[in-house]
Symmetry: D2
Subunit: 345 residues, 4 copies
Amino acid sequence: MKAAIVGATGYGGAELIRILQQHPEVTIESLHSSSLEGSKIADSYPHLQGVSGMKLESIDPEKIARNADLVFTATPSGVSSELVPAFINEGVRVIDLSGDFRLRDTTAYETWYNKKAPDEAVLEDAVYGLTEWLDADVTEAQLISNPGCYPTAALIGLAPLVKHKMIDPGSIVIDAKTGVSGAGKKATSVTHFAEMNDNLKIYKVLEHQHTPEIEQVLADWDPNIGAVTFSTHLVPMTRGIMTTIYVNATESISPAKLYDLFNTSYKDCYFVRVREPGTYPSTKEVYGSNFCDVSLAYDERTDRIMVVSVIDNLVKGAAGQAVQNMNRMFELDEKTGLSFAPVYP
Amino acid sequence: MKAAIVGATGYGGAELIRILQQHPEVTIESLHSSSLEGSKIADSYPHLQGVSGMKLESIDPEKIARNADLVFTATPSGVSSELVPAFINEGVRVIDLSGDFRLRDTTAYETWYNKKAPDEAVLEDAVYGLTEWLDADVTEAQLISNPGCYPTAALIGLAPLVKHKMIDPGSIVIDAKTGVSGAGKKATSVTHFAEMNDNLKIYKVLEHQHTPEIEQVLADWDPNIGAVTFSTHLVPMTRGIMTTIYVNATESISPAKLYDLFNTSYKDCYFVRVREPGTYPSTKEVYGSNFCDVSLAYDERTDRIMVVSVIDNLVKGAAGQAVQNMNRMFELDEKTGLSFAPVYP
Amino acid sequence: MKAAIVGATGYGGAELIRILQQHPEVTIESLHSSSLEGSKIADSYPHLQGVSGMKLESIDPEKIARNADLVFTATPSGVSSELVPAFINEGVRVIDLSGDFRLRDTTAYETWYNKKAPDEAVLEDAVYGLTEWLDADVTEAQLISNPGCYPTAALIGLAPLVKHKMIDPGSIVIDAKTGVSGAGKKATSVTHFAEMNDNLKIYKVLEHQHTPEIEQVLADWDPNIGAVTFSTHLVPMTRGIMTTIYVNATESISPAKLYDLFNTSYKDCYFVRVREPGTYPSTKEVYGSNFCDVSLAYDERTDRIMVVSVIDNLVKGAAGQAVQNMNRMFELDEKTGLSFAPVYP
Amino acid sequence: MKAAIVGATGYGGAELIRILQQHPEVTIESLHSSSLEGSKIADSYPHLQGVSGMKLESIDPEKIARNADLVFTATPSGVSSELVPAFINEGVRVIDLSGDFRLRDTTAYETWYNKKAPDEAVLEDAVYGLTEWLDADVTEAQLISNPGCYPTAALIGLAPLVKHKMIDPGSIVIDAKTGVSGAGKKATSVTHFAEMNDNLKIYKVLEHQHTPEIEQVLADWDPNIGAVTFSTHLVPMTRGIMTTIYVNATESISPAKLYDLFNTSYKDCYFVRVREPGTYPSTKEVYGSNFCDVSLAYDERTDRIMVVSVIDNLVKGAAGQAVQNMNRMFELDEKTGLSFAPVYP
């Protein structure tokens, strides 16, 4: 199978290269960048010297479609919405990592992303690719919209509870924390090492564009669920997301039953590791891997359930899940090329 | 004024030395340690070479009381409960940083701290020293119990809302994050650099001993308030606490009114900085200082109020607030010796 | 091929598991620990949950030899010297990561390691496994002594210059910097996050046990080379070593010729990446990988050559090179199971 | 005394504000910025909210000279060279932190800084302000050129050896490591947290502009000293510089005598702490303070002397030394306003 990566110089693109160069069923056919055409990827990412000698090419949908079976668009939001229709039109399948095709409601997209919404016809065909909870058969899908990093962690943590209607629909609070690579490759004053090191920041308070994405999926699972409170923090680490989720239980539940529920829900999901009761995951325990680790607690004093979930934002939160979705699209075992262990310590 | 520091080799003790060596009205009379008697403090803390040539002495309450006007007990919990009665007995005033004299309910103390509760008679005389909300006149107090680091940040953030009964008493969720110095000077596998670096951990889930301390103070302010949900995370930074607080508003309130409330509440409090609306504090912005910065948000979609508060856990969360309390006890301006700016970046 | 790992709970052991679980030609037969027998490896390393369900076994050389083709001893120095002879005796091949079999001079070993030297007969059979510069045919070797992390970086940087006698033998200064995982898994006050974070330390000044190892190899290459000055620093990062090497050139050399020399020397070495002239590697560019990146500079003002080399101390500096040596021992391509890219960022 | 700070929004300027707001003899008269005129300093640096309510003003030398006794120019190199002559012309005294007035050789300046050299007449009047080694009486000086951060650490470490001609003049190697604040406030890809965290970089190899500054001062002390080898590394920490210095001793010297020499040389220097023999400073031990800590080692095997010196690059390496120089200019005790302890941990 041949894959092209558009937006290869962002962190999502670089991570796709790292994963796909080891994937037994895929060849990276070409790398594309709108700005660095002609230079080598190893010039942008010296860690790839000797790993990939490829050059960056311009973005020519027709040519890409001719040579590749699949395109990963790891472009910024607002760019994919322009590019993806051309790829679809040329008949090549697409996995989009940008966020442009996640919200079905174009008004919501324009409100939260502050950008022009994508073409509705293309949007309608997009399958939301939270792999563990894919309802659709994606073996024929033209376009998979890869979930956001935060929604991946939050939704895997919430799914069993919401699907079994075990929580008060108005009670969901998601306190999310991310490593700084989540802010992308572009250097800004917010991500300047001298100011981000030894520091903890809260950002985009009540304005994060992943909020409606989480709400849309939850409402699909339980239409009673409306708005959630979702907050996002920048932690002085490179990779990793932790979501600490607080919900009111509709009725008391023993911790053992909570664990049963999650163990049952995820028993066939290699990449979701429900941790031993009484233990909690740290982000480093999934570093560099496609795992999502989940733990649970029940607060008898307040009848609240707490869910803690962690992922590597660039793997399960981006490139890894994209490859997992690719495996599903092409009827491979979902673990193919993804079963590497976390890098620890 | 002469002060003795008992437990000088812990981080709280070392921070007291840093602050008091610049305090214009205080002389450090003596430093005490149960284990390192006879060695110089600069042997334990080389950063103090040239700053303090003092040696560590054994803990002799009678002798300390004879020479000092005030004792800071920066000892571990379970140790202060043994030591403080002796100091009180000798007639020397005490500010205790350990936590042993914060909970009035000795059963709760024994449950959450898993240690023997202190003497009830001494406990009754202890004044809880959240300086900005001190009800009592402490100019005659024998014993001030210095608040915990997390409660300081959380309670300053919650006080105006709770005192004005603006929130649903059962809705309080406090998601707290701390730098690793909060875990103390003792090296453990949890705080090993190789595993804590580039990592984010949740710990003591539903078991943190600061939970009943927060609840006790909130119930004093509004007896309707019962249990809160309080969680604690270790962030890969040395200093700093952020509490992100979520509460359900009893009725809609405009952000402007929220800010008015907080600005009014803290208008005479030099160390509480209510930040400009729309801006949020990061922990580094109070690094090394006694400030507590607070910001607010109102989520119209869920009718939740969010409060974000940050402190330096070793200053406003420990040694700085202890000195602030000392200033109050001895009728000095509370800023004396504490008005140094944060160290940034 | 079946491998046993002795000392599986140290960082070297954990990294061997990470690498070998993806190696196409090897099965991990058993894991061994002197202290945690009976517990699961995932209890010590939760990142391995779902990756390895193996339990730790006691260290029984006879049984291990019966079941495994190869033993990795990732035990502390002073422990391997006791264990390895038993494995050799039982006829199982060994790759030792401990350092015990690196110094041929047992007196030097006892001086620098402050431990009892290993059995001389076993020591004589040990092959020093700096893979790129292996002189011996190791396909029949019983025991490979895996190089130290610092010597690996320093020797790869110095080899072309020393072998071609291009430098003043008495002029070698190696300023080395390591991430904190190099200090091992045991938590100590030196590696306490609160004190190591945002800090840079120099340690074991003129006393590091890797000094005689470097000197022994250099003297093998050029007997004129005697003592070197070697210093070691702890950098607030988890993984990575950089050695900055300063030597006096015996005669002027153009940068282009310097690069030619290194490119020629390493043209067949996949894992040594001589970087483009004018660019210099950072440690993160080899993070998690088996690469050693090298750059050069010539200071015309002082006639000094500078060499900068970086490795991941746990991979090329330990487990990765051990697997590379294993591949050589068993006549596999040296890249087998090791060609994964660095994790960046 | 009234001071103006020009370039108040850089890290050097912000650190001057932190120090001067606590200085008992100085009032900050005005803050100046070329780009943010009219905004509050606390908008650029929220940590200063409540500490300074000052607004940034444009740079009007005549007006500044009218109102201030002293101007600190914490402007970038190439900017000070333009501004300082105007201040001198208006008769106000200046301490320049930029580097523009450090090199007496204007050709060298243009080569290493790649900028137009300053006016020679002004340059001639500039006094190089390495405070501990000031030869000149500066009580009448119009212009003090504050040393670079690296030169401060390196020269304090080398001075006793060079002045006593104890080393081979051609043998000096200075391996320097800095925290990232040394790269300034501007965010760049080099200092992006996601790439600088958990990373170690070498930069400006053989091209750092502090090289000729070090050489100029050393040659003043011993004309036999010519070029030195000086390398610079970026360490993932915010503040701190360590220089590890290697020199060949002209004759053997006992460690005790080495320490005697340094203790004698610095006996009257409060801010230079010669550490106990056998102990070595870490950068955090001077964090936030004006100290320079120095340790020594003698390598009998190679007859090399090693000197390790650490400073906080923004304090002793910039703003702190500037205030120390100000104290000297205005005949105050050099410790005035600078005796605060390091912030540790």
